[in-house]
């Protein structure tokens, strides 16, 4: 069963957010496993302003493509070039090396606790 990292909060659309400032954002192992092997990641640019609940990029696997939703509103401070160069990091280490970007948050969307997210999506804490 896909792992849900206990130290993070999650959007209903499977993005995770950590507690640092600026916050770091990625996609959950549940989402990565469901997508299959990720082969392409399209991320917002540094300086772009994203809005919680709206699409801000794409994650493409061999079999499908999914929108990436902003879990929080704010300015993109940094993007993970390593994940763009090697999208397999999203499958291999979704909560670590496969992070996507950091945001200087102005407001948050609706975020679930790890327990709530795991219960809803069948993940394993």
């Amino acid at each position: 069963m896909s792992k849900v990292n206990a130290g993070l909060r999650y959007s209903a659309e499977h993005e995770w957010v950590d507690g640092s400032s600026p916050v770091k954002v990625g996609i959950s192992a549940v989402a990565a496993d469901a997508l299959g092997d990720v082969v392409y990641v399209d991320l917002p640019e540094v300086g772009a302003v994203i809005t919680a609940g709206e699409t801000c990029g794409e994650v493409e696997s061999t079999k499908s493509v999914s929108d990436l939703y902003a879990p929080v509103s704010g300015e993109i401070m940094e993007i993970n070039q390593e994940a763009i160069d090697n999208p397999a990091l999203l499958n291999e280490d979704p909560y670590g090396a496969g992070w996507l970007f950091t945001v200087n948050t102005t407001s948050e969307g609706e975020l679930l606790s790890a327990e709530e997210y795991a219960e809803k999506n069948g993940g394993e804490l």
Partner: protein, 373 residues
């Protein structure tokens, strides 16, 4: 719809497969990573459970003549031990299914339709058999199908074949089949082995009674592990067949499409004697150039076109993608698409509308990938 399970379902669960519904069947989508499975088939070998495919036995003095009438190809001309790719159409020339027929002896053929279409094809064949001295027997429920695909497929299969029968395998040509004796631990039997497949690689498809399928599966895995064989699911089967430019029923082929638009004109044997189902309609269709044709598309960027995405030229819709994915072997996006005939020439620059963003693609010849010979 009731979920159907192949005789190998428990093996797949044991191997940690994730499952998907395919034509009503619960089939392994992948065991580990679909990319790893894809590359294994190209570089070494993959083991597939294809038991969802149909098997229909056609037997009798009229078997050849009957299939000449029921299908668009000239099956009576197929030599014993050989196979032929063909289509079954309705009277309007619409494609009911694409299928492979093996001639097992003078009066026996094994017709293999696609999973979801098997009941329809069996019923159509039974209906078309009236007036012919043949028996149409749908043995799909009793038959499993296991495929070994990849450059190491022959070596792996040979590990299960007694030395005195090796020639039956090594001498088997592409699109041929034979009964081959196999030693599977305590169990031995003659199984129908065909040198066919859907991956663009060398490989074999082995027909086996359901109760023996797990034994065969385990024996092949055992023989193949040292030769790079891994179990392979439907996800990589789809990316492999797409690279090989092979059509998938429901994507590239359908009742609304005729063989000429699909680029399968040569499969239709209008020159054969006698009537066949669809002849009148197909003769008429051959006279008129199809409005759209199936082509290959190669993407310039990294993002892939997917089924149903519009193909554009200068902003105008000129076609539709039917299958598309990033090609794991080639490293760029590939797609099959129906485009207006005016844009079907290789080299034509088009765009695919990727969710509102047009990206450049080029029409290319098929297949995208051809194995080194």
């Amino acid at each position: 719809m009731t979920e159907k399970y192949t005789a190998l379902y428990e093996e797949h669960k044991r191997l940690g497969a994730s499952f998907t519904d395919f034509g009503g069947w619960q089939m392994p989508l992948k065991y580990s990573s679909e990319l790893a499975e894809h590359h294994a088939v190209r570089k070494a070998a993959g083991l597939f459970d294809l038991s969802h495919m149909g098997e229909i036995k056609v037997t009798g003095p009229d078997a050849g003549a009957f299939l000449d009438y029921a299908l668009v190809g000239k099956l009576s001309a197929v030599k014993v031990g050989k196979a032929k790719y063909s289509l079954i159409t309705n009277a309007d020339g619409g494609i009911i299914d694409d299928l492979i027929s093996y001639r097992l002896d003078d009066e026996t053929y094994l017709v293999v339709p696609n999973a979801g279409n098997a009941p329809v094809v069996a019923a159509e064949l039974a209906a078309r058999a009236e007036g012919f001295d043949v028996t149409v027997n749908n043995i799909s429920d009793d038959t499993s199908l296991v495929a070994v695909q990849g450059p190491n497929a022959e070596a792996i299969l040979l590990a299960l074949v007694p030395a005195e029968h090796r020639d039956a395998v090594t001498g088997m040509k592409y699109y041929a089949a034979a009964k081959v004796p196999m030693a599977l631990g305590a169990w031995s039997a003659e199984l129908l082995v065909a040198r066919t497949g859907y991956t663009g690689e060398d490989g074999f498809e082995i027909y086996v009674p359901n109760d023996a399928a797990p034994i065969l599966w385990a024996a092949l895995l055992d023989a193949g592990t040292d030769r790079g064989l891994i179990p392979a699911g439907l996800a990589c089967r789809d990316s492999l067949r797409l690279e090989a430019g092979m059509p998938l029923y429901g994507n590239e082929l359908s009742l609304d499409l005729d063989p000429y638009a699909a680029g399968l004109g040569p499969v239709v044997a209008l020159s054969k004697e006698g009537d066949f189902v669809g002849r009148t309609a197909l003769e008429a269709k051959k006279q008129q150039a199809p409005a759209r044709r199936l082509v290959g598309l190669k993407g310039a960027g990294r993002r892939a076109g997917r089924s149903h995405y519009p193909v554009l030229s200068d902003g105008a819709v000129i076609g539709d993608v039917t299958s598309g994915a990033p090609s794991p072997t080639l490293g760029y996006p590939i797609a099959l698409a129906y485009v207006d005939t005016a844009f079907a020439e290789p080299g034509t620059e088009v765009q695919v509308d990727l969710r509102g963003k047009p990206e450049p693609f080029t029409v290319v010849g098929l297949p995208f990938y051809k194995r080194p010979s």
